[in-house]
């Protein structure tokens, strides 16, 4: 549906997106992940024809965005909820958008109703909170009943209620069979909503795979073991094809076999276990690992970045 081929975007001598290629399949929720400054917004701007690529092409259903007959019927995009004229009322804002694509006025009322802004429809959007602006922006994306929805960091700065609302809305939209392309630097958000992931760092593609594969591709799950005979167990596990490494606190981290197998080995060898826990790699860790070299603005003193296998 959305095809990005060899997309490169340079601002002056700074390369924001570097030879990026991916495609977004219809009917999926695709998460677009990357640290801040990885080129996510730039990529979205290029898809929407707001920025012109330095090289490469972007097509939507085989067409350039500029050539779509009714852009709002194909793609509903929200990059920046504050990108509205604050002096205009919510109703008039949506009306002027609807009119460009010949959409009926009653559509505006329906969209306002849907996002819960009917009561403030005649109020100028200048006074809206971020959450209300977000709702107004989303109302705008839904006016044209588009097959594709694009959201850039939709939960950024929202309160928990707003986050829940957006999350539920995205799920509902996906359930209707719409294609959703949503960017975030918050992994936890993706873990709950996305089927597919496109991960970028420093403007380059790092991963393009299903959520499952992405988590598996990282160090993956491991098993944490506490035992009274660590050396013996390490050897026994190695003999069965796994690897066990001793941690600072005396626990062992076992990779390459499930907890059940570790337990069986210990039982066979008569080794006493005090703990046997499966540690599932979270998306967060997988992401940290993959993008470790691709973080553009790194703090001088790095906060304790959890290494794979110790998380919960």
């Amino acid at each position: 549906m959305i095809e990005v081929r060899g997309l490169t975007k340079r601002y002056g001598d700074k390369v924001a997106v570097n030879d990026l290629s991916f495609s977004i399949e219809p009917g999926t929720v695709t998460g677009f992940l990357g640290p801040n400054g990885a080129g996510k917004t730039t990529t979205m701007r290029c898809i929407l024809g707001l920025d012109y690529p330095t090289a490469g092409t972007v097509t939507i259903g085989g067409k350039r965005y500029q050539d779509l007959a009714y852009p709002m019927r194909e793609v509903g995009a929200l990059l920046d909820p504050k990108a509205v004229h604050g002096g205009r009322s919510a109703y008039n804002h949506l009306l002027c958008l609807a009119q460009t694509n010949g959409l009926p006025k009653k559509r505006v009322d329906a969209a306002l109703e849907l996002v819960g802004l009917s009561e403030v429809a005649r109020k100028r959007s200048k006074g809206f909170s971020l959450g209300m602006s977000q709702r107004l922006g989303i109302a705008g994306t839904l006016l044209g009943d588009p097959r594709v929805l694009m959201f850039d960091e939709p939960v950024n700065g929202l309160d928990p209620e707003g986050i829940l609302w957006i999350r539920n809305l995205m799920k509902a939209l996906a359930a209707e069979g719409r294609t959703i392309f949503v960017s975030s630097h918050l992994m936890s958000e993706m873990e709950n909503t996305a089927d597919h992931l496109i991960v970028v760092g420093k403007g380059r593609l790092i991963a393009d795979c299903t959520m499952k594969d992405f988590i598996a591709r990282s160090s993956g799950s491991s098993v944490r073991v506490q035992t009274t005979a660590p050396d013996e167990l390490v050897l026994a596990i190695a003999a069965e094809g796994g690897t066990a490494t001793a941690g600072a606190d005396g626990t062992l981290t076992v990779q390459g076999m499930p907890a059940q197998k570790v337990g069986d080995i210990a039982f066979d060898k008569g080794i006493r276990l005090h703990e046997l826990t499966t540690v599932r790699a979270s998306l967060e860790e997988a992401f940290m690992e993959l993008t470790a070299d691709a973080v553009e603005y790194r703090a001088e003193v790095r906060a304790a970045v959890p290494t794979a296998g110790i998380g919960v």
Partner: protein, 285 residues
């Protein structure tokens, strides 16, 4: 998670399907949209009210002053003043200042608010957006200008009636002066709109226009007089004075006559519009 059921609350009731549409989103829809944009912000009304106040109110004040002066001197001693010009001078000189603010804001406000990104996402054919914006602004500006110019003229003449020098629509050049000034003020607004598309910044655009309309003539004025005469006819603001002059003595003989002089203003505006349109299409939004 595509199989999750719709959540509860208002977001659960999603919008109904739209019937399919034939053809392509084009100029007509964008013109309607731009009209909605123009009429739905307060700054439009404030600037148009300012235009009317300046054009009609200040115009009337100038005519009162003239009438008062003439009455004190007695008839015959201020013979030959251009009554049409008196009634329209405030509209031309200050009305253009107001109109250029509105012309600039129509496009620069899109950039200062970020609205341009939303506008161009819903309608990515930028040439169409630029044309619709320009047409809607120019149309609205022209209507308000024509109405203001006529009212300023009639009110001014009513005030000047006692001097015996007041003009009527059927006098030579009067209709040209009224329509011409309305067109000139509109054209200055369009020029400002074009600068706005190039500069994309409200204050920068207005500063540039003030430079072109008010500072440039002053600079030309202090040049050696034969230079002044040569250059003056090629600056965009010279048309205003020529257009409002209806009797031989009140126009500037070193300039072109009214319409050709206005042609100079149009030519500059056209060039700036082309540059503005090209940049509007080519630059990242």
């Amino acid at each position: 998670m595509t199989t999750t059921t719709a959540p509860s609350g208002s977001s659960g009731v999603l919008l109904e399907k739209l019937p399919p549409a034939a053809g392509k989103a084009g100029l007509a829809g964008v013109i309607r949209s731009e009209w909605t944009k123009l009429r739905s912000v307060r700054s439009t009304y404030w600037t148009l009210i300012a235009l009317v106040v300046v054009g009609i109110g200040l115009g009337a004040l100038i005519c009162f002053a003239t009438e008062n002066h003439a009455t004190h001197l007695g008839h015959g001693e201020v013979l030959g003043f251009d009554a049409t010009s008196r009634s329209l001078t405030a509209f031309v000189e200050l009305g253009q200042l107001v109109m250029m603010v509105l012309g600039a804001m129509v496009i620069t406000a899109e950039y200062s608010t970020g609205m341009i990104r939303t506008s161009l996402t819903t309608m990515p054919r930028r040439g169409t957006v630029f044309a619709a914006k320009g047409l809607v602004f120019a149309g609205a500006a022209l209507v308000v200008s024509v109405v203001t110019a006529f009212i300023a003229f009639f009110l001014g003449q009513a005030i000047l009636h006692s001097t015996g020098d007041s003009a009527t629509l059927s006098d030579p050049n009067v209709l040209r002066a009224i329509i011409g000034t309305a067109l000139y003020v509109t054209m200055i607004g369009v020029m400002s709109f074009a600068f706005g598309a190039i500069i994309r910044h409200t204050a920068g655009t207005i500063a540039t226009m003030v430079g072109v309309l008010f500072i440039l003539p002053l600079i030309v004025e202090v040049l050696p007089s034969d230079w002044t005469n040569d250059i003056n006819k090629w600056i965009p603001s010279s048309a205003g004075g020529q257009l409002i002059a209806t009797i031989p003595g009140s126009s500037d003989p070193t300039l072109f006559s009214a319409w050709p002089q206005f042609g100079v203003t149009i030519a500059y505006t056209a060039v700036l519009l082309i540059i503005g349109a090209v940049l509007f299409r080519k630059r990242d939004a």
